[in-house]
Symmetry: C2
Amino acid sequence: MNYPNGKRSSISLPTGIKKKKQPDFSNRGMTLEEDISATNDYYRTHDIAVIHKKPTPVQIVKVDYPKRSAAVIKEGYFKQASTTDFNGIYKGQYVDFEAKETKNKTSFPLSNIHQHQIDHMKAIHHHGGICFMIMRFTPHDETYFISAKKLFHWWDEQYNGGRKSIPYSFIKRNGYLIPFHYQARVDYIKILDKLFF
Amino acid sequence: MNYPNGKRSSISLPTGIKKKKQPDFSNRGMTLEEDISATNDYYRTHDIAVIHKKPTPVQIVKVDYPKRSAAVIKEGYFKQASTTDFNGIYKGQYVDFEAKETKNKTSFPLSNIHQHQIDHMKAIHHHGGICFMIMRFTPHDETYFISAKKLFHWWDEQYNGGRKSIPYSFIKRNGYLIPFHYQARVDYIKILDKLFF
């Protein structure tokens, strides 16, 4: 877990677990996704906003139906998400965002995002939704809000000979540092209030 | 598939398939969910609205990582959805709905819906989103739009000694028959336009 002083506790892996096959928990607290889900729970239980993470898309191939017990998925595959991870409503407005963390110190690699996610965000933006991205630079322990429009710029530029990553310095200047609160761990609504309401 | 005259082709099951374990395709065309997904595709490709079905929530228990191929889910279970199936944006407004079909001729059984879905719909309604339900009575081959508010009334009443189902006659009088179009098969946006825009 994260402590209010910003330090993270280290969780050691059980012995015998192959590190390569496991998410990397070394010297890390909750993932960005977990932090945002906890934040959304807080928003929901305090009647601030209703924002959910969409379930991971799975292609189900084989299901067993054992007698007197629940159906068991015996073969399935992870599918690439066709939209962003989070959406919902805040102050009557449609809100839609993607969240990604990087271990990179100096830039955010655009390979973390997919073309259809950008297409989805562009459609949302076009239809008047509030659309953005939350980026965490784990080496800096900083989490930023960056508007979809600024993201589109870098995304499109990479196909015009531009770079394949967004410099950390750009995010620092043009994004908004998201405050950490003990309950609303990634309190992005603070930023929405500043920008849209 | 559905034909413009409203008749459905019958799809026969391959012999040897245990009917009990399979979805019932007898004398039926596309499911309501498939019809709505096709409708959403049409809305999206024609830049009318951006509305998606959320992936089915799966509790993943065991994953294999074969060499040189994709991760395989070897054990998983279906989880109950904590929200509705569909959400998105139309004309700048947050839209959220659940879709269910029944084989019942005279009423829609409330057991088709879960308490947390109602809780979610109430929260959306409270935050100013457009929230409703799409119900199909397969014996009548009719699909209705019913506002969340009217659904809440029947839902809450069942715990005050009310009935456990909504009469078909009530839906017919208080819901809105959703027109069938060849491309927008369940053209619910026609109803939204009438009621909200």
